[in-house]
Symmetry: C2
Subunit: 359 residues, 2 copies
DNA sequence: GGACTCCATGTTAGCGTTAACATCACTTCT
DNA sequence: AGAAGTGATGTTAACGCTAACATGGAGTCC
């Protein structure tokens, strides 16, 4: 009663007085079974409360209908939203999801994680880890026959990938500031190793360069609000005049807004702030944050669909699925204040004079 | 070259000129193997790049070393942090994690999800779904022999569980306001179905009742910042005087702060706000949020450890692991302003008079 | 020096399922 | 009426691994 032995096909077959194979046919729906036999089998299944064993099915069919999702730092907004999207898509397609956190970005930790997933015989893997082109190719070399959709690699890498067009989003953000008339723009990046990050970083710089500008400061955070706060204080302490900040994610932007507020700087009158992600909080911050919307759940779903496609076709063509983010303009951006600009210009002139004098 | 057949124990055995069983002994570390034999086998393993098949191992040993995590709405703060904690603990113990989202709270969706996990032969399940006592017992009845640690059930339910002491945390929050001298407290709950929520709700009410108070308003949100914002506007529109709000999570509190700010109400001078969770943003909101800290990653790790314990012992004793949250006092709470209180009292008297007159 | 133990290894029989082939009773066609 | 399907079932051999028992040789004991 407490722990009766597991019910197998054989048990059902015995009760229904048919062969195992017939029961298998009823369960899987493959092959012809007479209506009355099917009814008898189904009755037996219900009576015994039979549950198929996916391990055995996987072993026999050489296909597990499970996929792995390998990602870094699940506690951040992006990976957790991604997980939600992937899980839903997988479940709807009849797949299970094995989630595995990669200890660090880069080849070595990734290899370790993929080895674990391959042992579990997943049919394919979604890999949300920052890898440069060389690493990606090495991963493919080390795991031949393991269908893998990359989610954080440089656009154009010749492998199956589902990516956000980070460069496009970053350009939107930068151009928005430029159109408003900003010329003294600081940028606050995420951790330097992130591939997405360097794409954003370059797009920001490129957009500024189009207007013959370079960022007045370049800071780095770790995606956390606290790091955004700290970076902003460093920026202010540096004394370099600026009228806008491009921030690599909304969570850091929370810290940025806070730091500016603390120092009596009004957003957007004194400083414009643009975030990235459009988290649910962003619309309700003080002030509501102008940001770049990224739809992670949808990206996850598309990535899974892409993997499914890879599993189906014999020839895994290296199609890239690109999702395009959009700019959401809210109240944290405005044209630079003329007054503040002139004050800052004067200040800078003074500094330059002092520097010339001192040097 | 492209898709060579999988390497099995038999292949390794043939190359090393020993029996399969000897290779198995080397791989698993069970049983004695002579040093020189072991070396030969290891060389063969390395040469062939052999990877054990966990499916086959699971089938043979009747143990998969994988656990399921069933949860609702992975996109929220709590479940995603929990996932991170569980995954890490599981990985460190050599277990894989199958994540499965339950469509809705309640028995039926839970049963569906657990059936799927059982098919995959997980050794046990961590269940982060709101269930009342009756449902929990029914789940146990329907899945005998499936070790399960419940994470969102009423404290005291006689089943293995890893819980946060929600009532304690809620009491801390309420008593903090009472000590400050607040008497007109509104409460903003999460969705009504949530078990944790009703625990918080009751603890809030009980703490107020100790001081012969009842909440002046009772609102409900869906955990999102937008719902916190909307609820606050409803509260303000209702015209009931209040000097403090107890909010069921920090994300909603973001919306609450925003709504109050929009209406020109100062936090904490005019209204005190207490959140719940202590998200990374909370310390950097305007103003920094007084809140109840919940350490989800640690809870997840403890829950997994509890499950592991259940798997080891023959007699699954229904121990409950309780994690105690703590109050973090920041700048969103202060004593009620006397001025505002008297204005509100006058207003209320007037309302009462009007009501009496009208009725 | 024979019984006893211990170690290193091999052999056999599953674990629960499916694929591939085999069987046998009916139809249906010409 | 005989050939040729076709529909419903059964039989057998994997899938990759481990548990349990079997074997045989080397050392130990009195």
């Amino acid at each position: 009663m407490t722990d009766r032995k597991t019910i197998t096909l054989a048990d059902v077959a015995a009760l229904a007085d048919v062969s195992q194979q017939t029961v298998s046919r009823v369960v899987t729906g493959n092959g012809q079974v007479a209506a009355h036999t099917r009814a008898r089998v189904n009755a037996a299944i219900a009576h015994l409360n039979y549950v198929p064993n996916r391990l055995a099915i996987g072993l026999a069919r050489q296909r597990t209908y499970s996929v792995g999702f390998a990602t870094t730092d699940l506690s951040l907004h992006a990976p957790s939203q991604l997980t939600a999207g992937i899980e839903q898509a997988a479940r709807e397609a009849g797949y299970s999801l094995l989630v595995s956190i990669v200890a660090a970005n880069g080849l070595s930790a990734t290899t370790h994680t993929l080895r674990g997933l391959r042992e579990r015989q997943v049919d394919g893997v979604l890999l949300n880890v920052s890898l440069d082109t060389a690493d990606v190719l090495e991963v493919q070399r080390r795991f031949p026959g393991l269908p893998c959709v990359f989610m954080d690699v440089p656009i154009g890498t010749p492998v199956p990938a589902a990516l956000l067009d980070q460069a496009h989003g970053a350009r939107l953000a930068a151009e928005h500031l430029l159109e408003l008339g900003h010329t003294r723009v600081a940028i606050l990046d995420g951790p330097r190793h992130a591939v997405v990050e360097s794409a954003r970083h370059h797009a920001w710089r490129d957009a500024l360069a189009t207007h013959d500008l370079t960022p007045v400061a370049h800071l780095e955070g770790d995606w956390s609000p606290a790091s955004g706060y700290a970076a902003t204080l460093r920026l202010l302490a540096g004394g370099v005049p600026f009228t806008a900040i491009l921030v690599a994610n909304d969570q850091m932007a929370v810290g940025v807004l806070r730091a500016l507020w603390e120092r009596g700087l009004n957003v957007p009158a004194d400083v414009s702030v643009v975030g990235y992600d459009d988290t649910p909080e962003s619309a309700l911050l003080i002030p509501p944050l102008t940001t770049v919307r990224q739809d992670f759940p949808t990206l996850g779903a598309r990535a899974f669909a892409h993997l499914l496609n890879l599993l189906g076709t014999e020839d895994p063509h290296s199609l890239q699925v690109l999702t395009v983010p959009e700019l959401v303009i809210r109240a944290s951006t405005a044209p630079p204040s003329v007054e503040r600009q002139s004050v800052q210009a004067a200040l800078e002139t003074l500094r330059a004079a002092l520097a010339a004098h001192g040097g």
